[in-house]
Symmetry: C2
Subunit: 359 residues, 2 copies
């Protein structure tokens, strides 16, 4: 009897077209084995561009730049948590940490935020979650609170891209989004300026669809009058929204679990979530469940820290031993435990976050 390995790269064949389209290589098996975090083990990190130097630095315990950011545009959901989880992993490997609370970016690129003032309030919320997830004040910065060097650098970048290049990558020439992107290039590259760490390999986690942006950022790095390593990127597979179609969205509460969701609402949300299962329990027992379709399973896959446990769930569900209802129950219990702990920290971190944003 062959035991199916749920983390096999076989399950990633559906991403092959994306690899081909973007010219990306799969995340190497060797890296996956040597990096001790479930996001690697479970194949959630599926590809990379220029991550090799960071990988070598992790093995040889040398510093590297750990850079990511969240556009603080609304409620903090499980998708955001993923970015913090991987950031925390790299931080534990002795990285130089740069976590951007991207409030100017959020304002400039989102139609629903009408002023920097609003964006700063949203930044307080995002930062309070980020701190509750274990980051410290010195790991983070607020875009609207940075040093002149950072802004000047963002503006220096403007001369290294043309309107045509921008339009080719992003499909538009929206003024706000131009500014948002200039800040993103600066976020990713500024830690290598001499005022910060100097030339050093860096890693930033992004979605596959953001690869054109990553490539442009690497092109820009070559054109700037500074000696910079090309920034490295790792690519996540996409955690779906709770509904059958569509992604997690801060503006639709039914699409995602938010980390400040009322604990009493979690069971209902998970019960309503898409499972893509069989027509009846009888069929489920006979044919087995389809974990790949089931959002409750996906939540465990992306967020439950115990890989053996998730592997067990996968097999029990696939074999039909575990029912959809039971799976939903396990998922809801896990989430309630996790969010209860998280929310117990939020009051304190909200205070700290407010102080940081308005400092």
């Amino acid at each position: 009897m062959v035991i199916i390995d749920p983390w096999s790269t076989k399950s990633l064949d559906k991403y092959e077209h994306a690899f081909e389209k973007f010219g990306l290589g799969r995340f190497p098996e060797g890296y996956r084995k040597n990096l001790d975090h479930y996001l690697f083990k479970r194949g959630i990190v599926i590809a990379h561009r220029g991550f090799d130097k960071v990988y070598e630095r992790i093995l040889s315990k040398k510093p590297f730049i750990n850079m990511t950011g969240i556009a603080s545009s609304g409620k903090f959901h499980l998708g955001h948590k993923l970015d913090v989880d991987i950031f925390n992993f790299f931080a534990s490997k002795g990285a130089k940490n740069y976590f951007s609370i991207a409030d100017i970016d959020a304002y400039a690129s989102r139609p629903n935020i009408n002023s920097i003032k609003e964006a700063k309030e949203l930044a307080v919320n995002t930062l309070s979650h980020v701190l509750a997830l274990g980051l410290t004040k010195k790991d983070v910065y607020i875009q609207s609170n940075k040093e002149p060097t950072y802004y000047t650098f963002a503006m220096e970048v403007s001369k290294k891209i043309t309107g045509n290049m921008f339009k080719a990558v992003y499909g538009h020439l929206d003024m706000g989004k131009i500014v948002a992107n200039l800040l993103q290039y600066a976020d990713i590259l500024h830690p290598q300026l001499e005022e910060y760490e100097g030339k050093m390999p860096s890693v930033t986690g992004i979605g596959l669809d953001q690869d054109p942006h990553a490539k442009l950022t690497r092109d820009i790095a070559k054109r700037l009058p500074y000696d910079l390593e090309l920034p490295g990127f790792i690519y996540f597979i996409h955690q779906k929204g709770l509904k059958e179609t569509g992604k997690m969205s801060s503006s639709d509460p039914d699409t995602s679990i938010f980390l400040d969701d009322d604990l009493g609402s979690i069971k209902m949300k998970i019960n309503k979530a898409f499972s893509g299962g069989r027509a009846s329990l009888k069929e489920h027992r006979e044919l087995g469940g389809i974990p790949e379709n089931d959002r409750a399973y996906e939540i465990l896959l992306f967020h439950h820290p115990n890989t053996k446990f998730v592997e067990g769930i996968y097999h029990d569900y696939k074999s039909g031993n575990l029912s959809t209802g039971e799976l939903k129950g396990i998922c809801a219990d896990f989430l309630i435990r996790m969010l209860k702990l998280h929310q117990s920290k939020l009051k304190r971190t909200e205070k700290a976050a407010r102080k940081i944003v308005y400092s």
Copy 2:
């Protein structure tokens, strides 16, 4: 016998088309008489947009915002001096002073500056001249050295204009120039933020051709989520280059007097300058000179502080009593005296400027 008043608004008829084109009003005669600076008296300030509130504040000795800037793109010439002269006048009237050394702007908008590093060195030069002309450290700021509030505000503006609006006013969508303009809007409007002076009338001196930019800045002021006075503008007539055609240019030494020109070169430069005069001295005596065409006269008109003296020159030249050669001699002597004094200050101010730019 009718004495021609060289400062009569009659001589400005040639600008009538510009007034009509831009919908600008002439600078009122009453303002001209009450503002005790030769740039007003001599009609060099010929129009305004929304200057009334500042005018009233000057008369009632209330504060107002005095805002201008120089893109530090190269050598400092007489055209730049004009901006500093009018700024000094408003400063003497109790204004809140905001003089921008626009180094990021210069970098982002000029093809010949290849890095922020280069732009900062040019800023040292520009600032040393500005300080030698009497401004103090607290009157000026370097764009690349400002507070986060300023940059954040510049980026906030990005969402209040569309690519189409930008293209309509400037004729292009150059990424560097977009950034340069965002900074210019911020330069003009940020002094009215609560972190600075709060809502207050402001004045900025510009050329007539920059009026579409001024109008767009006023439009932006209306669309921002802050309570702002519409910024006021005064418009200068254009000081021509030393050659028959073309304007003063930092890249062509024969087009202008630079404030750090070798004193020994001044006589030659003025002798070579366009005079647009008569075919012979005999004709000059008979028909009179044409001060309106003569660059030596224009230098005195724009820069000699004694209005009675300049008026005398005008009449003597027009009547033919004063020869072109004599006029050139008077102009060269005046410039050499002025530049000698200026250059004696430059060594000290260069040191101060370097400290300010790299602080």
